[in-house]
């Protein structure tokens, strides 16, 4: 039991939040969900995490790193944080209610 919780905690570190946008809604037509994930998460990690947390079968994971914009504040440039998104395709018939949270 303790071991499982530990594994769970690791998974929670990988999957940060669902990414709910218009584009993400379009993706759902192909039975895919979009998550924000940790910057250093790998595709296998993401697959494991989604499968463990939502109890679904993942058929594919694509990731994108969105670089943070360079902004200026009081003339001084700074960078917004980068963000990694993962588009997770699920097996036919499986689904995740992204709005309900984990």
């Amino acid at each position: 039991m303790a071991k499982k919780q530990e594994i769970d905690a690791r998974h929670y570190d990988v999957i940060l939040a669902p990414h709910i946008t218009e584009k993400a809604t379009l993706a759902s037509e192909n039975n895919a969900v979009v998550f924000k994930v940790a910057n250093d998460a790998t595709k296998p990690q993401i697959r494991d995490a989604v499968e463990a947390l939502f109890d679904v079968k993942v058929t594919g994971v694509n990731t994108i790193v969105t670089k943070g914009k360079v902004k200026r504040w009081r003339g001084k440039p700074y960078r917004r944080n980068d963000m990694k998104k993962a588009i997770v395709t699920l097996k036919d018939g499986d689904s995740i209610d992204v709005t309900s949270g984990i």
Partner: protein
């Protein structure tokens, strides 16, 4: 939607409305569709949020709102279907155990307005009792004003001050040999017998002459307003500087000028106008009463209990407030308590007449113009502080209930006026005593419902207390007086009615003459204390 009648008793109705879950669901869907184009959500362009997401985000709110709307509309529909005219806001309750996705069951209970045949307004015969202003009464009033503005003249040095004379004195007061604050004055005028000083002070000064010195010993009364002096013995060293005798003041132009008027004639006119106004108010009250009696006699129908209750509550509260101001408040409360039934009858009568009047008004197209309404609002706003007036106006504009409350008395008056126009009116000249007696007589003839009469006269129908004020102000200034008088009188009258008739008669006369005095004193701005006893004896 399913409606079942669960109660039908007299004017009371109760219904159970069942709204199926699918209907609510449909409405929610429609609502979602309606608001979707306006929803903003991060990650979506405005209005592009998918419906299921909207539902998820705002579902709870939407549901509550939809249920509310549905209840309201179904109640409205119920009214329309059954042709109900509710007397008051119906009580609507959602049954316990309702949850999203279940059928909603609503309990509605209400009282309906009775069916009133539009009363026949033609051919009501009324008598207008007109009181010509008596010249001698004017004289009397003028004399009284004159007396209050007496001038004093120096008397001979040897003249001993008597009751009614004015003495100019210096005095130093002390308690146990120590001077106290406020106990010292120079050249203070004091009219002996006027009772302005501590009791006993003036008596001891009777018989002094100019230049006399005297020590006056008095005891402050227990209820003296300065607490540290109350009940103490004090000595006043008094030096009499002058003794003056009162001079009879004549009513002439000079006297009028001293009051700030042009001439004696003007003063006379003013007094006359004042007295006329006074009696005009009484005349109207009397006519209104006749009218209401005529209406009440011709109609008898069941009255919604809820309205009666509300009206009764109001009367009750007012009475209780009056009672609490009374010296012997417990006895007063008891007395009122014992006449509970009577007051209930008053309430019923008021409600009935109110319904009747509004029915007549509607049937005959009596309306209140916007202009009148705004005037009314202005008047009502007067009683607030300037900075609050704007808020008050807005409040009235936004709250139809409040506006209705304001409008009601004016509307009622207009209907009464309308009826006056229609009615056959006979004029008859009477004296003031007769007019008052007529009002009183009407009160006693309807032995049981007697007090009821007073009630409608005051605010003829089921009108709310705050509205009453507005009513008095609105266009019925004359009415205001009897109304004000009646309020305290009401209780006294209650006890009056119990006394044997023989006793009543003289009491009434006293009231009549007393009331004459009350207005007489008014010009001197001293009516307040004078009026109260008059009203009480009424």
């Amino acid at each position: 939607m399913q409606i079942t009648e669960t109660a039908n008793e007299g004017l009371k109705r109760a219904y159970l409305i069942t709204i199926p879950a699918s209907e609510i669901d449909d409405r929610i869907k429609a609502e979602v569709k309606r608001i979707a184009p306006q929803v903003r959500m991060p990650g979506f362009r405005p209005g592009k949020v998918p419906a299921n997401l909207v539902r998820k985000m705002h579902g709870e709110q939407l549901h509550a709102q939809v249920v509310n709307d549905t209840i309201q509309s179904s109640v409205d529909e119920l009214m329309k279907d059954k042709g109900l005219r509710p007397a008051m806001q119906p009580t609507v309750a959602l049954k316990d155990g309702y949850d999203q996705g279940k059928d909603a069951e609503i309990d509605v209970s209400l009282e309906i307005l009775p069916e009133i045949d539009t009363p026949d307004v033609d051919g009501i015969k009324l008598e207008r009792l007109v009181v010509p202003v008596d010249e001698s009464a004017i004289d009397e009033t003028l004399q009284r004003i004159a007396d209050q503005n007496k001038t004093f003249k120096d008397a001979a040095k040897t003249k001993k001050a008597a009751e009614g004379d004015q003495v100019i004195i210096d005095f130093v007061g002390s308690i146990d040999g120590v001077e106290f604050e406020g106990g010292k004055a120079e050249d203070a005028p004091l009219v002996l017998g006027s009772g302005t000083f501590i009791p006993g002070f003036e008596d001891q000064l009777t018989g002094v002459k100019t230049g006399d010195e005297k020590v006056v010993k008095v005891t402050f009364p227990e209820d003296y307003q300065a607490e540290h002096l109350a009940g103490k013995d004090a000595e006043f060293a008094v030096t009499v500087k002058a003794v003056k005798t009162a001079e009879d003041s004549k009513i002439d132009d000079e006297f009028a000028k001293s009051l700030g008027l042009e001439s004696a004639d003007k003063l006379r006119e003013l007094v006359k106008a004042q007295m006329e106004q006074e009696t005009a108010g009484l005349t109207r009250t009397q006519m209104k009463r006749q009218l209401l009696d005529a209406l009440a006699a011709g109609h008898d129908f069941a009255v919604p209990e809820g309205m009666v209750d509300a009206e009764f509550e109001q009367i009750w509260q007012q009475l209780m407030q009056e009672a609490s101001r009374e010296e012997d408040s417990e006895a007063a409360v008891k007395e009122i308590e014992s006449e509970r039934d009577d007051y209930r009858r008053i309430a019923e009568r008021r409600v009935r007449l109110g319904l009747l009047l509004s029915e007549i008004g509607q049937a005959n197209g009596v309306q209140i113009s916007n202009q009148e309404m705004s005037m009314l609002m202005q008047q009502a706003a007067q009683q607030y502080r300037p900075e609050d007036r704007e808020r008050f106006m807005q409040f009235i504009q936004n709250e139809p209930m409040a506006a209705a409350q304001l409008r009601a008395p004016l509307y009622e008056d207009k209907v009464v006026d309308f009826l006056f126009d229609k009615a056959e009116i006979e004029e008859r000249e009477v004296t003031r005593e007769e007019l008052e007696a007529a009002i009183e007589a009407e009160e006693s003839t309807e032995a049981e419902a007697a007090k009821a009469k007073k009630a409608p006269a005051k605010k003829a129908a089921a009108k709310k207390a705050p509205a009453k004020k507005a009513a008095a102000k609105s266009d019925d200034k004359a009415d205001e007086k009897p109304a004000a008088k009646k309020a305290p009188a009401k209780k006294a009258a209650a006890s009056d009615e119990k006394k044997p008739a023989a006793k009543k008669a003289p009491a009434k006369k006293a009231a009549a003459s007393d009331e004459k005095k009350a207005p007489a004193k008014k010009p001197a701005a001293k009516k307040a204390p004078a009026k109260k006893p008059a009203a009480k004896k009424d």
